[in-house]
């Protein structure tokens, strides 16, 4: 099925369909809510995320600390809210930079075909040969822990997915009439690629970006768990789970709440991604 005639053939209606799906609406609203909570964390969180209160360590959820406190007496609700900022940032940056790089390279490969396509194809094959998390871990282990290195690793690994998607779309769209018509009007390759081809091939890449967002948050949490991602005391869901793992029997709330935060966020984003891809498929269907 060719994907790109579809959605883009009816830009106005796409907006209507997007708002029409129920699961999509739930996903969007839920995700927006989380994003708002994350943005407002410094103002709505009841405590300071790094303030220690050793005397109050490992309190179960109660009226003063709704989610309880961790081993250092820090308020878990506060830390979960602040961690949302970090984790959403990981998801966003982890999608946008690879999306841009992958889309540009995929566009070149798909438009020119021939040897640029062959070279890109080989590189993509090599990167794809490794499991995602293993490669991210290996790169971070090489560069050293920290958020910046994590972004570098994510970018190095996940641009290939976007490149492959955009390249495939571009390869099929370059044969369309409007590209030939654009050439017959004396447009240069750059104009044709970025102004004519790109808007017609981006939708599937955006849809993939939604599921990639979840993957990036999970990767960030996993690396945080291993101590390779965000460094304490900065709150991050994965780090919080890692730090609380020794108390999983005696004080399960320390790990349960950040874990729930990951699950709920992933759920809403997946909902958006899945229904968006359904819609793309429906609109694209002949």
């Amino acid at each position: 099925m060719s994907v790109s005639t579809l959605a883009v053939a009816r830009p106005r209606r796409l907006g209507g369909i997007l708002m029409g799906g129920r699961s999509l609406r739930i996903g969007l609203v839920g995700f927006a809510l989380i994003a708002v909570l994350a943005l407002l964390a410094p103002w709505i969180a009841p405590y300071d995320p790094t303030a220690l209160g050793l005397a109050d360590g490992l309190q179960p959820p109660n009226a003063a600390h709704w989610f309880g406190t961790d081993q250092l007496g820090r308020d878990i609700l506060t830390r979960v809210l602040h961690a949302a900022r970090t984790d959403l940032q990981i998801g966003t940056i982890g999608v946008i930079i690879p999306l841009i790089i992958g889309a540009v390279l995929g566009l070149f490969a798909g438009y020119y075909a021939g040897w640029p396509d062959a070279i890109l194809g080989r590189i993509v094959d090599v990167v794809t040969a490794f499991p995602f998390l293993v490669l991210v871990l290996a790169i971070v282990a090489m560069l050293g822990p920290g958020l910046t290195n994590f972004y570098i690793a994510i970018t190095l690994v996940s641009w290939v997915a976007y490149a492959r998607i955009v390249r495939g779309e571009a390869l099929s769209a370059r044969g369309r009439g409007y590209i030939l018509a654009a050439r017959s009007l004396g447009y240069g390759d750059m104009r044709i690629m970025f102004r004519h081809l790109l808007p017609n091939v981006m939708v599937p890449a955006f849809v993939f970006g939604m599921s990639d967002f979840v993957l990036d948050i999970l990767a960030g949490a996993s690396l945080g768990f291993f101590g390779l991602g965000v460094q304490p005391p900065t709150p991050e869901w994965g780090v919080m789970i890692a730090e609380g793992r020794n108390f999983i029997i005696t004080a399960p709330w320390v790990v349960i709440f950040p874990g729930l935060a990951i699950i709920v966020t992933s759920f809403f984003v997946s909902l958006v991604g899945d229904s968006a891809s359904d819609i793309v498929r429906r609109v694209h269907a002949p």
């Binding site: 005639t5 009439g177 104009r191």
Partner: protein, 335 residues
């Protein structure tokens, strides 16, 4: 008055090297400034590729041979950059299917304005104004508002008008129209043809019109060329070709028009065109021709002039009278 230039195509050949197929062979014709030439032939006769070769927009693997000159410029010798500047501004093209020829994600006004900006060096605002002007010229009512619409919001005929507006936006002096009305219904077809004809006269443009339909060409073109199996088999003034065709294939083509044989069964030409990879020696039409003799298939048939400016590639022209009998006059489409 704008600069007038003649298009001269000399022994044009298009070959797909890998498969060794010559799909256009030795095609020569001239279009004088402001003139209109029609190319007629069935699908696969090479007329579209002839058209695209002039803009050097070839499919992958196709090589162009021969010589194409426009004014003083040798088009096949230009570098890619020079050719690119020429496309749209001097020579523009209208394609068959207006839906696929328009970018679905661009508003039509922006599509037209982009042509003007790319060639005319006008600013955004001025280009937009001119785009709306162009839409009015091609007969789109309420152009100022419609400029903000997307291609799918227009009917087929309106889309073709917009496509024509794009092609003419940078004021080309030669327009190549590749089956511009084939995808449209008959009523709309006549309107679009009239529009093309009017614009051509107003702008003093030359026109190369490709069609499989004699009637379309008859309405718009002073001269017509008939193509068969990649070759030009007959070329001459439209009126003389229609009145006194000099090639059996032209006669067959005219006979297979529905209106040529009212009340009778359609007279299709028996057989099918040859595979461009395995062309017969001599006349490519000989296997389907009732006049063919051994001499037709021994050597390539040269173009021979019958009247001044009317030539055909047939050595048995003196035998055509019988075939011409019963030929009905072909009227122009839309008139």
């Amino acid at each position: 008055m704008r600069r007038k230039e003649a298009l001269e195509v000399d022994r044009l050949t298009v070959t797909f090297a890998r498969e060794g197929r010559a799909v256009v062979r030795n095609v020569s014709f001239t279009i004088a400034p402001g003139d209109a030439l029609g190319l007629v032939g069935e699908s696969g006769s090479g007329k579209s590729l002839t058209c695209r070769a002039i803009l050097r927009l070839m499919p992958r693997g196709a090589a162009i041979g021969g010589r194409i000159t426009y004014g003083s410029r040798d088009l096949l010798a230009l570098c890619d950059g020079e050719m690119q500047v020429l496309r749209g501004s001097s020579i523009a093209m209208v394609f068959q299917d207006p839906l696929t020829a328009l970018n679905p994600v661009l508003r039509v006004g922006d599509s037209i304005a982009q042509v003007i900006q790319a060639h005319g060096g006008l600013g955004r605002r001025a280009a937009r104004m001119r785009a709306i002007e162009m839409m009015e010229r091609v007969g789109i009512r309420d152009a100022g508002r419609r400029a903000a619409a997307y291609p799918h919001e227009f009917s087929g005929g309106m889309r073709q008008r917009i496509h024509i507006a794009m092609a003419l936006a940078a004021r080309p002096t030669l327009l190549l129209a590749d089956e511009p009305t084939t995808a449209l219904d008959v009523v709309v077809q006549a309107e679009i043809l009239r529009l093309l004809d009017d614009l051509r006269r107003q702008e003093g443009m030359s026109l190369l019109l490709v069609s499989h339909d004699f009637r379309v060409v008859a309405g718009l073109c002073d001269r017509v060329g008939v193509m068969y199996a990649g070759e030009l088999v007959e070329v001459g003034a439209t009126q003389t070709v229609l009145r006194r065709p000099e090639h059996p294939y032209t006669i067959g083509l005219m006979n297979s028009l529905p209106e040529a044989v009212v009340g009778e069964r359609l007279r299709a030409i028996p057989g099918s065109p040859p595979d461009p990879g395995r062309l017969p020696q001599g006349c490519a039409f000989a296997p389907r021709c009732e006049l063919a003799r051994d001499s037709c298939t021994t050597a390539p048939i040269p173009m021979a002039e019958a009247l001044r400016g009317h030539s055909a590639r047939c050595i048995r022209r003196d035998q055509l009278d019988e075939m011409r009998r019963g030929l009905v006059t072909v009227g122009a489409a839309g008139t």
